[in-house]
């Protein structure tokens, strides 16, 4: 299927270039339908946010985009997810290439039992050979990008587990951007963090969007309001409403969206 034929195309052209396009996508886990015929665009160099109650399927959708749940048994999919005008499900080659372009940051930071430096270069060193100075350069560049450099520059060889949880999460982001992806998927990246660390990550997301396309899952509506450019509201595996953040938060079209935004409750 071509990007041109996607039905949602006419609705939001003012949001810029489409980076990932989801087209009539359904996902089932054994007999349970989790995503039902979803079509939505995600835009380049924007913060695209997925909101919805827990269990709505927003994380599942996110995890489809780099096929990280590829190994989970019992998952069947229908429809297409287009990236670079190719269906990522058609191309059954090495998933490493897909994941090089579409990075991911998880809910809980997970650092490898190695030094801070080794953690930053953990992904990239499997893609190309790095000398010691290359590693240092890469670490410096990306730790600066996540504003962690000042805090850790004098202890790069210490174990990454010695960092605070908030710092670890920024380290995970540094690790993800070190492979220079085009898109970064973020699955509730602040939900296990304290408010100050969350604020830092939010600011970081704002600065990262200049270079990367961000697709963010959050259940925190006010966070979505603060940092999103485009918002998609998912409930029970259906897209209820999608559009620019300004429009969706200020003038939601659907009654379900209104209820969810005001009462954090969904009856769809």
């Amino acid at each position: 299927m071509d990007i041109q034929t996607i039905t949602h195309k006419n609705i939001q052209t003012d949001l810029g270039t489409v980076e990932i396009s989801i087209s009539n996508f359904s996902l089932a886990f054994h007999a349970t339908k989790i995503l039902k015929d979803i079509s939505v665009h995600f835009y380049k160099n924007k913060v695209n946010t997925l909101i919805g109650p827990s269990g709505s399927g927003k994380s599942t959708l996110l995890r489809c985009m780099n096929r990280i749940n590829n190994t989970t048994e019992g998952i069947t999919t229908k429809g297409a997810i287009l990236f670079n005008s190719k269906d990522i499900f058609k191309d059954n080659n090495d998933l490493s290439y897909l994941r090089k372009d579409i990075g991911m940051v998880f809910q809980r930071p997970c650092v490898f039992p190695k030094s801070i430096l080794e953690n930053v270069v953990f992904g990239i060193q499997h893609l190309k050979k790095l000398s010691k100075t290359d590693k240092l350069k890469i670490a410096e560049k990306h730790l600066k990008a996540v504003s962690l450099w000042n805090e850790v520059s004098d202890r790069l060889n210490e174990p990454a587990s010695s960092l605070s949880i908030g710092q670890q999460q920024r380290l995970c982001i540094a690790r993800a951007i070190a492979i220079e992806p085009k898109v970064i998927l973020m699955d509730e990246p602040t939900s296990s963090l304290d408010p100050i660390s969350s604020k830092t990550i939010e600011n970081l997301i704002q600065s990262l969007k200049k270079q990367y396309t961000i697709i963010l899952v959050t259940h925190n509506i006010s966070q979505a309001q603060r940092i999103s450019d485009q918002v998609t509201f998912i409930c029970e595996g259906n897209i209820i409403e999608t559009g620019s953040a300004e429009k969706l938060f200020n003038h939601p079209e659907k009654i379900q969206t209104k209820t969810y935004l005001s009462d954090n409750f969904c009856n769809c």
Partner: protein, 281 residues
């Protein structure tokens, strides 16, 4: 009876269990040390045995045991680590998981004399290898497979799935995840398992006495098809001449040396485990 009394009875019960357990162990080791230390001398440790062990030392038995366990670990560890990785990362169906579990536990439960008979029939009779220390090593390696497999498997399986996911999301393929995330952890488990397995293997008599060892006149084997002499089989030979007080004393001495080797292996496994538990995953 009130709960205070029940509590003290329970406490007494637990304490007596611990006392009995450690008492027996303490008694055994004390007897072994007291009896064995009389036999130990420089000559005993560093000369070869004469007259079926009644005279001379146990140098070749010590060397034989060490050669045997080193060969055993070289044979057993790679296979075990491979099985453990396969079991943890590749087998998805729970039915097959249960089947492999059952197989491994069965393998673990086979009495050691059965391994000896199997070695005798399969290698010595059917493959016609003759008495060979290497065949003995193969049999012992098979015998300790389950110990290493289970220990390695448990350490791989206890790695949270988040590590696999994070590594996958960074573009690592399965092989890279295994070598750079799982194996470092697996090796620690394999190491502990190997030492425990070796501690068992070094003390075994039954699996090797028909196929790998000779009781007299053995030195360091130069070819694969030569017998070897080990501490446990030497103790067996000495015990059979128990009417000779010199042989009996040498048996005590050899036992003390054997128990010391086992003890060293167990202690290093323990040290390794403590070191490893400091690594947080």
């Amino acid at each position: 009876m009130n709960r205070k009394n029940i509590n003290s009875i329970f406490k007494i019960g637990i304490w007596s269990a611990v006392t009995i357990c450690f008492g027996i162990l303490f008694f055994l080791i004390t007897v072994l040390v007291v009896k064995g230390i009389q036999a130990i001398s420089f000559d005993f440790l560093f000369t070869s045995s004469k007259n079926f062990g009644a005279e001379g030392g146990i140098m070749y038995q010590i060397i034989g045991s060490i050669i045997l366990v080193i060969t055993v670990i070289v044979l057993s560890a790679p296979v075990s680590i491979g099985v453990a990785i396969y079991k943890s990362e590749y087998i998805k169906s729970s039915f097959v998981q249960n089947m492999t579990d059952t197989l491994i536990y069965t393998l673990n439960g086979i009495p050691s004399i059965i391994y000896g008979i199997f070695g005798l029939i399969f290698f010595v009779n059917i493959l016609n290898t003759g008495i060979s220390w290497f065949v003995g090593a193969i049999i012992l390696a098979i015998m300790i497979l389950p110990t290493i497999i289970l220990s390695t498997y448990q350490s791989i399986n206890s790695i949270p799935n988040a590590f696999r996911e994070n590594a996958n999301a960074l573009g690592l393929n399965k092989w890279q995840v295994i070598t750079s995330v799982l194996l470092p952890r697996a090796l620690n488990g394999a190491f502990t398992g190997s030492l425990i397995g070796l501690a068992r293997a070094i003390g075994e008599t039954a699996p090797i006495m028909f196929i790998a060892t000779a009781f007299s006149g053995v030195t360091i084997p130069e070819r694969i098809q030569e017998p070897i002499s080990t501490l446990p089989t030497h103790i067996l030979a000495l015990a059979q001449q128990a009417t000779n007080p010199q042989a009996l004393q040498n048996a005590w001495g050899a036992s003390l040396v054997l128990i010391t080797l086992v003890f060293l292996l167990s202690i290093s496994a323990l040290v390794r485990r403590i070191q490893f538990s400091k690594l947080n995953y």
